[in-house]
Amino acid sequence: MTLNDLTRETGEWLRGKGPKGEIVMSSRIRLARNLDDLPFPHWAKPVQRAQVLARVQDMIKVSKFLKGSMFLKIGELSELDRLFLVERHLISREHAVEGTESNQKGVVISDLEIISIMINEEDHLRVQVMQSGFNLQEAWRVLGQVNAEMEEKLAYAFLPEWGYLTACPTNVGTGMRASCMLHLPCLVITKQIDRVLHAITKLGLTARGLYGEGTEALGNFFQLSNQVSLGISEEEILDNMERLIRQVIEQEEAARTALLNQSRNSLEDRIWRAYGTLRSAHLITSNETIEMLSLVRLGVDLGLIATLEQGKVNQLFIQTQPAHLQKLEGRPLTPSERDARRAKLLRESL
């Protein structure tokens, strides 16, 4: 498998088939791990970072779960390919930016993009599993298997008192960050979103935008994740998150029902106008696309737009991103060329 094969495929997490997929786009869990005998990436010498990369590469060759995965060195990728991986949520923005040769950054990507491992990011390893819909349990089951296998081959920095040791003290303990991507258009429309997010923040979750830390909540997407990783077990973290997220889902469902009952016409108007824009535009920016697709996704979920499948809409969120468009076209595009190409793709797909 090569990077270009991915352009024709869809990650498992975009299928739109998981539990509560109409509100929860995807569930993801990542574990931060560091090798016991080498300095953390930012403090290591290039030769030590190269050792990390080499050990992971060796580990993959004998791994049951990762055999056949793609192993990529970030320093060998074009800027476009790096952005492509960011858009697919396979690597972080930070991992893409500082991808010079001496940083020895790498990424492992499994079949269907379910498992991915960032190498030499803030920690030696960031092992991530993504699933479609509200499915932290399945993500944890897969991650548990991968992690157990990796732990047989790699000795990790660990203290009984403080758990898995990480470069930043905010990640010690379980080293776990679990997150769900929620689509909450009706909580936004009914102006309840601030109250809901405020409440869950008080109860131990953090809310971020579509592309992680510091990004705004574009397209009514909110990424909710656990704040604390020490003094709480992995199962407790997941239980706590599931309980809270279930409540957020219920609130969004209630808002959807209320809007349909009380202002159906104006809701339908917004949704169909968005659909119309996407089907007719000849120039459209990435941000407008996300905002309009968000309403179309809602229309599909509510059964108003019966001709579209949710998986297709999910896919368009990613395919209309700048790097994806350029991979599709097979050449670099200026921003205005991209707006035209994006509009063409949307007209053809919808």
Binding site: D37, H42, E151, Y156, P169, M176, G214, G231, S233
Partner: protein, 166 residues
């Protein structure tokens, strides 16, 4: 309390800086503390944030802390203050006294209760290093440090390693 920077999220990081006897307070949410503080506010980088927290409640004298050097990766406590990042796993032991209150403040708890590495992974190398450090501390009559190391060695040697699948 709302965050001073974005005025949206709840502030969870609280800072006080003393300049010429004037205290200045800053209340930030976690994303802003990480993202915006280093750019927006000179002298309020994440490193300072973390170090500021680290100093909070720590009974260890500044001088003692400044002298700490990680035997494995050579990171000094000063380096940690500057970057907000540890240098290696061993740093957590080296800076143990300074880190304990920081971790408590970040996580609200000081003890790991989650998964542990599978059986047979108590690194022999780590034990022998600790024993080496213990000898040195005793020789230097740094008895507080020696007592800590002794407890740590005991914990490592006695603690039965559970083999477990998650």
């Amino acid at each position: 309390m709302r965050c001073d920077l974005c005025n949206e999220r709840e502030a969870t990081v609280h800072l006080t800086e003393m300049i010429d006897d004037q205290s200045r307070e800053l209340h930030l949410c976690e994303p802003c503390a990480r993202e915006k503080a280093p750019k927006g506010l000179q002298g309020f980088g994440l490193a300072e944030l973390l170090a500021g927290l680290a100093d909070f409640g720590s009974k260890m004298g500044e001088e003692t802390k400044a002298k700490l050097v990680c035997p494995r990766c050579k990171m000094t406590y000063e380096d940690f203050r500057k970057t907000g990042r540890l240098g290696c796993g061993q740093c957590y032991e080296t800076f143990h006294r300074a880190l304990a209150p920081l971790l408590k403040r970040i996580h609200g708890s000081g003890e790991h209760v989650g998964k542990e590495p599978a059986a047979g992974k108590v690194p022999a190398e780590e034990l022998s290093q600790l024993k080496e450090q213990l000898k040195k501390s005793v020789a230097e009559e740094a008895f507080e440090e020696a007592a800590r190391l002794r407890d740590r060695i005991r914990a490592l040697e006695v603690k039965p390693k559970r083999a477990r699948k998650i």
